[in-house]
Symmetry: C2
Subunit: 426 residues, 2 copies
């Protein structure tokens, strides 16, 4: 039986594995996490509306009814593309060596600080459940620190949140932070009014959510400003430190900074590119053939955010590439002829900003406000894995939209990262 090794259990990788359920192959899925994460809702974990479990499905659970698939938890580190082995370290620390006949690399992307990696400690990004919990910690802890602040300037700094990057994630985060300050925490502090919180959304581009239709970008901008987000466009961030953000001549003293400005392909892409002798593109993405294979290596495919295909790094692209790749491997093994060339079907794009505020572009329809928000709700609920999760998310959202409640505000660590940073700075 031919061995298919899939690296990464995200939208792309998981679709490949499931798509091979009835194929005459054995599939090994390697991931360092034990769960598939519904990344488009991570910002809600970060802002205390959902728990990590509610937007995740254990990989083993997702594949429990697929006898030809196995899951290995570990980190892939290297490849032998001649002998066809994947090397790495399993979760127990033992060396991992897995042979393959087909290799699918769907290792995704991480934040990119454009060469300023020292910014990461002060402005973390949002790609994993652990990132979301760290960010949640920082956001809610900022209000605690503000409550203890000795002077007005320091309190003002601690109550300033800067989100860098006005793509969909940045827009969503900025909107949520405003809602936390104005609704969730109302009446909870005695020494200041959380509604005085300042939320700044910074981007070097002249518009928000640049990939969208200009009309919808404009509407999103108006909705953000209506909510009270201070949108600063055309400002390139030149420095990030533990006390704020500098963008050219502008300085934003802030207690919490979030990075939503850019991503780059997983370093695994570069490792693989080097092994086969191709050059990674800008952003660490790897150029692939039309069937996502590497030049000269039809048995190695790269899909999802790590592949340089010209398509945006969103879940529908990854899922469609995953489904197609499974069909392609199945056809190869059954010798039934390759499937029709991959073509991305854009079913629309949407971004949510806050309660009853969103924009959506579906076919020729350009929606904004409540109707776009309802469309967003519907689509995101449909795609969440697992019945219980879906019901839970409905309950959570009902509570949040009606009462401004956030059930997941608890801070479990005793020492949050921004306390440490502040201590070090003082």
């Amino acid at each position: 039986m031919q061995e298919v090794v899939v690296i990464g259990g995200g939208f792309a990788g998981l679709r490949v594995v499931r798509g091979l359920a009835k194929s005459p192959v054995r599939v090994t899925l390697i991931d360092r996490a034990n769960h598939h994460c519904f990344q488009p809702l991570l910002y809600q974990v970060a802002t205390g509306s959902l728990s990590p479990g509610e937007i995740s499905a254990p990989l083993r659970w997702a594949l429990r009814k697929q006898p030809n698939a196995q899951v290995v938890l570990g980190e892939v580190e290297d490849f032998d593309v001649d002998k066809r082995y994947v090397y790495g370290t399993a979760v127990d620390g033992s060396p991992l060596k897995v042979p393959y006949d087909h290799l699918v690399v769907a290792a995704g992307a991480r934040h990119s600080y454009f060469g300023n990696d020292q910014w990461e400690a002060h402005a973390p990004g949002l790609k994993t459940a652990a990132d979301a919990l760290e960010l949640r910690h920082r956001i809610f802890n900022a209000f605690e620190l503000a409550n203890l602040a000795k002077d007005a300037d320091e309190r003002r700094r601690l109550l300033t949140f800067v989100v860098i990057g006005a793509g969909p994630t940045g827009v969503e985060l900025a909107g949520q932070i405003v809602e936390i300050a104005r609704r969730t925490l109302r009446r909870e502090y005695r020494r200041f009014d959380p509604a005085d919180t300042r939320t700044v959304l910074l981007d070097a581009a002249p518009i928000v959510i640049p990939g969208f239709d200009p009309k919808l970008s404009g509407r999103a901008l108006r909705q953000l400003e209506d909510m009270g987000v201070e949108v600063r466009l055309g400002e390139l961030v030149t420095d990030v430190d533990e006390r704020g953000v500098t963008a050219g001549e502008h300085r934003y003293d802030a207690g919490t900074i979030v990075w939503a400005a850019g991503v780059q392909g997983s370093p695994l892409g570069a490792t693989l590119a080097q092994a086969v002798g191709v050059a990674a593109e800008r952003g660490g993405r790897i150029p692939v053939e039309d069937d996502f294979s590497l030049a000269g290596h039809p048995e190695i495919r790269i899909i999802g955010d790590l592949a340089a295909t010209g398509l945006p790094g969103v879940a529908p692209v990854a899922m469609q590439q995953g489904v197609w790749t499974a069909k392609s491997i199945d056809a190869f093994e059954r010798r039934t002829g390759a499937p029709r060339a991959f073509r991305y079907r854009n079913r629309g794009s949407m971004a949510t900003i806050g309660r009853r505020r969103a924009v959506a572009h579906i076919g020729k329809l350009k929606l904004s406000g409540t109707i776009a928000w309802l469309a967003w709700l519907f689509v995101h609920l449909m795609y969440i894995i697992g019945f219980a999760n879906r019901v839970l998310v409905v309950v959570r959202w009902s509570s949040a939209f009606i009462a401004g409640g956030r059930g997941e505000r608890i801070i479990t660590d005793t020492k949050p990262a921004n306390v440490e940073a502040d201590r070090a700075a003082s």
Copy 2:
């Protein structure tokens, strides 16, 4: 206005604060956590059924409608009982100095290893949300390590879980571990059958849940054994190391060890006892007068698990003491005469073991099996704070009882503690 300082936002402390809502006093609640935790359900967080947020309420949220109360996040470290100050460190690292007219210490209890603190690294206990997440991590990771094990003995060790202490928490944990192995993880591993997991419940006492009626203890034992828990009574643990537990002549090689054997009062109790010149009792509990005040210090009260009152360390005792203490302070400040002497009303006791397995002692009724389990469900749901949480817990439990599902199995750290321990040992 008189200042009341309450240390600890658990069942006892939170009831004092809320009970003083209409009193002519100002109340400061000091806690190191930002949330009240429903500790009786922590074991469900540890075993992946609930998220920490579902059994927690942010303290500020719980007190948002009480203008005479404020919350300070920080750690109390010392007392000046003459000048009436509490000293400590706030969550931002700044020194804390809070004056009081009335002091209520409800700092609770931690695990006690009976002088063998080195066991804690190998056999963590379960008192906080952070403890529960650590334990969840260890439990689910043990199956991953077993999946990677190279030989049968090591796999057998990794699939052995030892719970030390057969009180209500130990019994609940052992039952849940069996359900994880037999139901939740069914079909998820290819190299072994999770149902082969061995779950050992160890106690030096000759019976399980010793505080209960002997007839109910016996029924609980039978239900545990029916489920497949290996109950070993009359065995005193003599050593705990990273590869297992020794109890006299018996050795239990195990991958996961949980400590549910004993608690001791918070070290803050000893600090306070020393300041007023009283001696702490065994287990670190502090002797108090009938009104929970310290001898010679009517303005200082100790309630909950930290007070040596002869009553069991359970939530109903803490809550009733909290309510009574608020009345007592209110009467003192209004000069309306002290309330009637405190008397604990025992409304019953119950322990759950697994799905449709529990024991309950309510008045003269001694129940076990399904009916006791339904009573347990009802009572625990009634006492969970917050409407959304209650609905969420119902949804979670429905999914768990019908399908054996556990929605909160995700592991967010990349390096769980037991991997580290195993690496260090090898």
